[in-house]
Assembly symmetry: C2
Homo-oligomer: 893 residues x 2
Amino acid sequence: MTKYVYDFAEGGRDMKDLLGGKGANLAEMTSLGLPVPPGFVITTEACRAYLANGEVPSELAAEVDEHLAALEAQMGKRLGDAEDPLLVSVRSGAKFSMPGMMDTVLNIGLNDESVNGLAKQSGSERFAWDSYRRLVQMFGKTVLGVEGFEEVLDEVKKAKGTKDDLDLDEVDLRAVVERFKGLVQAATGQPFPQDPRAQMELATAAVFDSWDGERAKLYRRQERIPADLGTAVNICTMVFGNLGMDSGTGVAFTRDPASGAQGVYGDYLQNAQGEDVVAGIRNTLPLAELEGLDKASYDQLLGVMETLERHYRDLCDIEFTIERGKLWMLQTRVGKRTAGAAFRIATQLVDEGLISEDEALDRVTGAQLVRLMFPAFGATDEATKDETLLGKGMGASPGAAVGKVVFDSDTAVAAAARGEDVILVRRETTPDDLAGMIAAQGILTSRGGKTSHAAVVARGMGKTCVCGAEDLEVDLEAKTITSPDGTVVAEGDVVSIDGTSGAVYLGAVPVRPSPVVQYFEGELDVAESDDLVRAVDRLVRHADAARRLAVRANADNAEDAERARRFGAAGIGLCRTEHMFLGDRRQLVEDLVLADGPEAQAEALAALLPMQREDFTGILRAMDGLPVTVRLIDPPLHEFLPDLTELSVEVAVAEATGQSIDPRRQVLLDAVRRLHEQNPMIGLRGVRLGLVIPGLFGMQVRALAEAAKGLRDEGLDPRPEIMVPLVSAVQELEIVREEALRILAEVGVEALVGTMIEIPRAALTAGQIAEAADFFSFGTNDLTQMGWGFSRDDVEAAFFSRYLDLGIFGVSPFESIDRDGVGRLLAIAVEEGRAAKPGLKVGVCGEHGGDPDSVHFFHTAGLDYVSCSPFRVPVARLEAGRAAVAAASSDTR
Amino acid sequence: MTKYVYDFAEGGRDMKDLLGGKGANLAEMTSLGLPVPPGFVITTEACRAYLANGEVPSELAAEVDEHLAALEAQMGKRLGDAEDPLLVSVRSGAKFSMPGMMDTVLNIGLNDESVNGLAKQSGSERFAWDSYRRLVQMFGKTVLGVEGFEEVLDEVKKAKGTKDDLDLDEVDLRAVVERFKGLVQAATGQPFPQDPRAQMELATAAVFDSWDGERAKLYRRQERIPADLGTAVNICTMVFGNLGMDSGTGVAFTRDPASGAQGVYGDYLQNAQGEDVVAGIRNTLPLAELEGLDKASYDQLLGVMETLERHYRDLCDIEFTIERGKLWMLQTRVGKRTAGAAFRIATQLVDEGLISEDEALDRVTGAQLVRLMFPAFGATDEATKDETLLGKGMGASPGAAVGKVVFDSDTAVAAAARGEDVILVRRETTPDDLAGMIAAQGILTSRGGKTSHAAVVARGMGKTCVCGAEDLEVDLEAKTITSPDGTVVAEGDVVSIDGTSGAVYLGAVPVRPSPVVQYFEGELDVAESDDLVRAVDRLVRHADAARRLAVRANADNAEDAERARRFGAAGIGLCRTEHMFLGDRRQLVEDLVLADGPEAQAEALAALLPMQREDFTGILRAMDGLPVTVRLIDPPLHEFLPDLTELSVEVAVAEATGQSIDPRRQVLLDAVRRLHEQNPMIGLRGVRLGLVIPGLFGMQVRALAEAAKGLRDEGLDPRPEIMVPLVSAVQELEIVREEALRILAEVGVEALVGTMIEIPRAALTAGQIAEAADFFSFGTNDLTQMGWGFSRDDVEAAFFSRYLDLGIFGVSPFESIDRDGVGRLLAIAVEEGRAAKPGLKVGVCGEHGGDPDSVHFFHTAGLDYVSCSPFRVPVARLEAGRAAVAAASSDTR
């Protein structure tokens, strides 16, 4: 028979699936002998049965009876007993912490009779009625959905001329309870339930139901938490922090979650129950002051914290209550921390002998390293900063940006054109604001959260953004921002925004480069650096030793290649060649497009060849001895020409007004019209262009081969690789490969010839394509575009914020690889490509190559390397190491 | 040990893989006791070994020796013997007939000595030297690659003052042989090989090599013939049709390949070898005249034809030679035939008891039925037609088109705008001609083949096209076409082009509707119709009985729905709703786009609702009792608005010239700019639009539900199904489905709610999506666009002709489904969708639903139905039946 109920003494922290996180940790603390109030857990399995059938399993009541009886026997009290009632809390607790779910009902077991028993036993009428008031309020609100309790309480306090709950006496609280019960009767048509068991069962069912509440469902969709886990319910003997000034409740961390420093961190509130701390009704005390109030409990608490940290081998956060001098532990879990603290704590724990270096690596993430690599505002003069703080929003896209305030897209574009840095300020952004967002240094909105349009688009652009700064009043008509203290910021005034903390400052706050970046640049001496840099150095080096994935960089010029090398890149995974057609060379590309025959085309190509050769020479030199993968030209030719609409307007207006037109403009317009495409992203580009314009790819291959030849003649060791873009069928690759090998042989150098896998069909026919490829490199950007049918330029701004809000995906598939769809294509291609050609070299060169979560996937999929922007190389190194360690540890399990 | 050589008496027609088509059929005729000159076959396996290792297998020589010795013994002659030489032919013969491969070398075994023996044995010096001349010429050209033989022969004939080979006597021919040998010596640096075995071995190797010739490789790529089959080589005793006027050679069909009528069809040429018939040097006689020349051979030939047809149970074509009154069979195979003949012959053979109805169905194809359904030029007055025939090209895209000749795209567009029918005439077309091709009734080019730009684009458009009419001189400057007889056609003159036969006529040839279409329309009484209509009726009805796939139609209005029903559709598989937003309703869509808030949007939607309801009512009424799948709006909204460039020019010109602008145009321009997308095909459309514009999908669902309700209240049986387009993630579908079910319940009707599978990711996550779908319908057009990364609007015109030429694909993937890529996605989705939801209804509604080859694939993939244009419904019915019969017969094998 299924067991639906576990005593705290029966479980442990490995049972989160069944008992939820909270229940498993309560059980763990119980088994550690820590002072946990006795209680039991109703399992997630009971929840799943309830959700499937609309009622709790028939066996559950008897099991609960049994555990309740044992609890009553242990405590020597009976639930809701009129003379000496046992009271319990009912708390939800899923495997993953989940906002939107019902949280807690305290003081279950009180009713019109047992309140008197509680008063008698506690010796405090006020305490008893305060507890009953709390029960009716919490139960009424969360279980029965009744509103209006806060308002009543405020009225009563106002009538009494106070703002503090503690000023209400027993008489006041009796009256409050009566009015609360009246609210329940009015709203539900039923009196407040007096049967303690009914209270418990209703609260349990309400917790179960809250699993499928709208906000919980949305959160799960966004966080990709499976919908069928269910939540557990914790039934726990009540202990009381509101029994007087010798009682209280608090939260604590075993180390500083901001810096990682060891010490006593937390808050304590006397004569209160847990929800008072959260509600912020009264000011809490620093935890250290508890020593002066109750040294015994304080010392005991420090001992418990020590025990927990040694046991969990990590920073823990805890909730506790002191009931008349007796300490009780109500919750613990491994605590959240800042990025810097994560690195510091992980290495501290290694030094303390608590964890291994592998484990330390597992405790930090690439996402944290990214945060440490953004420039930040100098924290040297905290006072100055606070003086100019205008307000706070959400840090939606990290970085630090400084600029003049502008309130609309056109002004932003105009200012940027003048070379001015601007911050675009809007209530919220829409696709209309796109040009302004591109032009601005940073974006500030007063509405919307981390999935708002501004946040999504800014992250896509890698642009600093603060969202939902609700205390700033943005007046678009008057073109002002007004802060809560009345400061008015006008258009043109300079502000500074912090995309990590969400802070908004008046004036130009100095931006401080990241010491972690300085370290990677080789500008810092590690031994003399602060502990953060030392921690990063240590863990990244450990990751290097552990990882199987090589990390290359995407770089198109010698400067980027050199930087990538400093950042630890093992070569270039993607050298785009189209950037080499811009600037002065546009004219030559125009000549190519306008060429009226093969000879003129060949001439235009011949003019481009020496320039390309020079570009390649620089990059190969910077990466001497390391592989450099050169992608043949990818974008459609019209990208190098003027915009159709602009040129059409120019010519039409000139005609209409009788101005003379440069005949070349007219010829160009004809060409632009001819080359115009409905959907250039899926038009004539990549290998298609190479097959349609004879000699184009050949020129590039020859330039690369000659560059390599020249360097080899200098005694260097160039290692070029040729990559063909946008292949969808092996036949395309065969034709290009044949020509490339011929040219390489002519010049007398060798190079691998491989292909991008960036079209779904290429992935699906990878077995065929592998026959003609020396390597595969996944272009996950295009593979995502085609796999989802998403034109990134269009869809990110048009509807990604709505999609994130609707929970259609939890993160943009351009940010982190979509494992089910795009990832599956990749896995198919790796497997079938290697089956056709054992040992085929396989890498990835889309932006996902630098995304922490995606790197894990690429490790698991068996890739040989990832390639990402130079800046992301350290992140990829770290995550590749973490992935290897995680895989090794799950292998040995 | 591998056996590389088979005597004709050892093989049979089932051995085509090993012996090639020609060898297998020669063996079959031998075993039937028909008069086949003795010989043997070197297998395709020997060819494969040769191609892999660069030399023939070491065992081959001994095997050939053995078979040659047996042949010599049988014939009583020795190969190349100086006194009485055995001569042989060496002929290629792959499994599939393949242009581009070396064909035949006759008279192997002749040399400077044996030519005298042959003269002695045959009693004709002239014959012997004519045969030697032929050997040097054919061997020299095809084995040694020497050119110039034709020119020498022409010179000699000219010097003699004749045009006929037969006028050259022994002396002339001796001189010709000397000059031919001189050509060989000059070109190869070697004398013409005198060793008969060497001749045979060189010819065999040349046949093997020709398998990998450029044209052969190209052909294989285009026809998707595997590259590793190899070809067999047939070594056959020579018989001579050039031994005098009692000898000759001919070709014949066992029935009329044009009409299917039984009788004697073929050509005969006296005193000639096979290549003379093909070369067309002299005029052939109708086969029936052989009766007067050589009644015995004629009667024997009729007997052989009767035997072959009964044996092969099909129309056969044959090649034969008569050597001094003795009939020899040189080749047979199942013969090609016209579309009409295929249907007639198939039913005739059933009536003759030779084949079953299932087999008859297998003998006709949907592609043939398509050809029968195009309108054609009336064939009633053949004489008139021939008088106006200007010339012939290739029938590149079927149909019959009549219109005024124009020579450039702009003129075509202008004429079409005036309502005139035009034929666009070009030397060849380029993407620049696209607008003109769209405007024209038909396209005529003087250059390029079936994969030329004009051909590919016209087929994509379903527009009549004749390509490569090389005997017509197109002068674009003078704007004239000149025919071989000097007729000059000027711009504006009317011509008629036949996209099936490739004929080009001067003047307006009357177009005759297809009787097959009239039959499907129900306009003909089958019993009183001609045998073609009766054959079609019979086989389509048999297909209906056999098929498992249901056939639905794509129809957007009541008229199309009614026609589809007449054509046998079992419902509507795709009712597009966007067409319902055009015309008068554009204004309402503009209102929707320009709406400045939810209320204005709701108002615009409310105005559209009654119109949509009316549309749906008409279609549901036409399809009463049958399912109607309505696709919610799919295209991006800006498709309903003016073009960005045009509107920009309009507004800019008005501003520059000081004209007043309708303020609504300016507002509209802002909206068009805002909605403009880089790649609308993969932008904000389909379900994305439904999720971004609240109420849009809801309005459509309500209109459909109310339409169904209204009809049900009338006592009818409407069966609406709701289809959500462009889903890439199950979450999208869940949200729309929830709303749709709510609205259906409100109105009080039921409908299935399913989804298109047209995005690769949808196919790859079909198991998830099936949970929220009542059915899948594959949108293979979009699936092909995304799967290949092909924007059809752009790529077809830009490079498909080049891709077909390069053999990257043999047929456009938009025409016939790409099994390896897109087909694989489809198979994955069917399998995983059904695994998640057994019995899930699955169909296809892309254009591939009406493509014969694709229908077979859809049958094999286990689909429930295909949906195609009404016109294609009969084709799909036929092919679905053929697929079922083929599958059943392969099951029972």
